[in-house]
């Protein structure tokens, strides 16, 4: 019996946007960041016996050199836990993480400390990421000193000043305190501080969520610049699909600790396959009609990860759920080239919606419209 191509194999690698779609599947180029079946369970003590929260429940993801991978999902879906595992801020319960072919979960103590500079993390709130009593210059040179980089104090100072210029700030910021800067400026400082360590991988956890619209675009321009000019490999975590569409090559959608769809950016936005992805797109890319169109919005909240539903974890909110969705858990399967989906009925749903489109004479479909017209939605 032929097994469907499951996400746990290395075949999940999909090439950069401009390369032919099957290139990776054929040559099996090793991924730069390779996450295999990572599981993180938190044990919560309770009166009725310990409960287990499956925060990340078997995620496999492979990121190529220079690729920007997006991770999107509602709060509680495990995307930040995933970031904490990949940055070694917490230990995985199970699974493997390889960076550049080397086991990234093995090193401990001094060996880990020395290698931490390879993977840097950018947090949501830049005010919280900087010591309010340290000047920007001190904050930015401290990690270099910690890792013994940049020679002496004078050389480090020169490199910090150079980096300030690279992230679009002038030298006067060197002596400023965080309270004298705006949120967008501080987020540049945080990004610059991470880049000074010359990381191989940058994990951005909601890098623009705390910022105003005008600041957000400054940070996105900077991140895009890093991607294009430095070819930095990044994993970007966000709940904002507009940010994802701008920045990412591929996007993984998480729900209750599992990947439920993984596709390159254009495929995901133009032909989302999983019902949850569709709902997420409809809710993010609001237009004048989306609040009145009754079918496009999800009902209810995400279920508690303490007590996840049986079978497909999305069936409790899925508008297309069928009786056996509660009984069998679907696997992440290849749907189209470069697109993986965890739904047993995605083909039937795709046919149905094609049928609806024909009968209603809406050739683009409600969703395709909301996705494409997002640019003109305002």
């Amino acid at each position: 019996m032929r097994r469907p191509i499951a996400a746990t194999s290395a075949t999940i690698d999909c090439p950069r946007r401009d390369a032919p779609r099957y290139a990776d599947l054929a040559c099996r180029k090793p991924a730069f960041l390779s996450v295999e079946g990572v599981v993180k369970h938190y044990r919560l003590p309770s009166l009725t016996g310990a409960k287990v929260v499956k925060s990340v429940d078997g995620v496999s993801l492979h990121v190529q050199v220079g690729e920007v991978m997006g991770l999107v999902g509602e709060s509680g879906c495990g995307k930040s836990t995933f970031a904490r595992i990949v940055t070694r801020l917490t230990n995985a319960t199970e699974g493997k993480v390889l960076i550049d072919g080397e086991d990234w979960l093995a090193p401990t103590g001094e060996a880990l400390r020395r290698r931490r500079r390879d993977v840097q993390l950018i947090f949501q709130d830049p005010y919280a990421a900087l010591d309010p009593r340290m000047t920007i210059g001190t904050s930015m040179s401290a990690p270099m000193a910690h890792h013994g980089l940049g020679g002496g104090t004078a050389e480090r100072r020169a490199r910090v000043l150079e980096m300030l210029g690279d992230v679009g700030l002038d030298a006067s910021f060197y002596h400023r305190l965080p309270k004298q800067c705006s949120g967008g400026q501080l987020q540049r400082v945080v990004i610059g501080r991470a880049l000074l360590l010359e990381p191989k991988l940058l994990i951005c956890d909601e890098p623009t969520s705390a910022l105003d619209a005008s600041m957000r675009t400054q940070i996105l321009n900077l991140l895009m610049d890093l991607k294009l000019r430095r070819g930095l490999t990044m994993v970007v975590i966000s709940h904002d699909l507009r940010v994802m569409r701008y920045l990412c090559d591929r996007i993984a959608v998480m729900y209750l600790g599992k990947l439920i769809e993984l596709a390159d950016r254009d495929t995901l936005f133009n032909s989302p396959t999983h019902p949850y992805t569709k709902a997420l797109l409809a809710a993010s890319l609001l237009d004048q009609n989306s609040l009145s169109a009754a079918d496009s919005l999800l009902e209810g909240d995400p279920p508690s990860p303490l007590n996840p539903p049986s079978g497909c974890s999305f069936h409790t909110r899925c508008p297309h759920a069928r009786p056996d969705c509660a009984a069998f858990e679907p696997e992440l399967k290849l749907a189209r080239p470069g697109q993986f989906v965890r739904c047993r009925y995605w083909e039937a749903l795709a046919e149905e919606s094609a049928g609806v489109r024909e009968t209603t004479g809406d050739p683009s479909g409600t969703l395709a419209r909301s996705a494409q017209s997002a640019a003109t939605a305002f």
Binding site: T217, L298, G300, A377
Partner: protein
Amino acid sequence: MADHDMTRENVSVPLLEVRDLRVSLESGKTLIDGLDLTIGRREVVALVGESGSGKSVTALALSRLLPDALRITSGSICFEGQDIVAKSDSELNRMRGADISMLFQQPQVMLDPTSRVQAQVAEPLRKHRGLGRRQAFARVVDLLRSVGIPDPAVRARAFSYQLSGGMAQRVMIAAAMAAGPKLLIADEPTTALDVTVQAQILRLLKEERERHDLSILLITHDLSIVSAFADRVAVMYAGRILEEGPTREIMRRPAHPYTRALIRCSLLVPESDGKLMSIPGSGSQALAIKEGCRFAPRCTLMREHPGLRIACCSREPGLEPVGQRWKSRCHATAEVLHEGDVA
């Protein structure tokens, strides 16, 4: 006959009319500087702006909930023809929750963790509608059902920490709607929620508006909500309204360079140079500008048209009419409109 006259008068007087409102810190720094805002009956008005522009201070001023350090130094806030600024504390307490309700960003923080949902939703009914404990609690279940809470009878006995963010915001909406207010001031009601839940809450607010002939002042920094939700939009910057008018027109072709830049920023669509639009500088210093337009230091239009510089930097433009119920505070409205549709 008298009743008839009353209704006629009510129709002609807007529900809320703010004239020349000024709010200052005790130190004398002015945070809201001559704000004019009108909200009609059943109208949804969005107040948008970046952080620090004064939109939340406006929300607090409208229900006279300003912290002690802030004072209303001049202006009037007329609710159905009565000036809120002149009201006494007991008059205000009779008004809050009964005529004007508020909704805040973090529902779980706003709910009292020590009392059950039913007690908190029942409070406006008991205070303003004179219902007894039992009658009020009976109404609570209906109210919770109407805001889409499953198992309302069970949830009524829950505590706030047992609710998700979306559920807590629904409870807040039920409490805000309990006494049948005419105006709901919602300060970033969905910012702390997931996008899927955000859409649910916005839809619920729209339904409540239809059901209760409610007017809503929505305060937000998210322009994508505005176009889906509001009839009219007012754009705030450094304590002033820079543009105000019908959402559809403004979102398509704004008359102020700041509005235009803000919309371009929110769209996240690259400009011709491949970069996203960003507004240079930050607005935090703009309150200190005493001469000329407050947005001038960051205005790209002024940089592109050097001829404007003298006017923009020396004389602050007034809020001039652009179209039907549409005003903009710019010396170069014609030039902005000439740039065409924003997307």
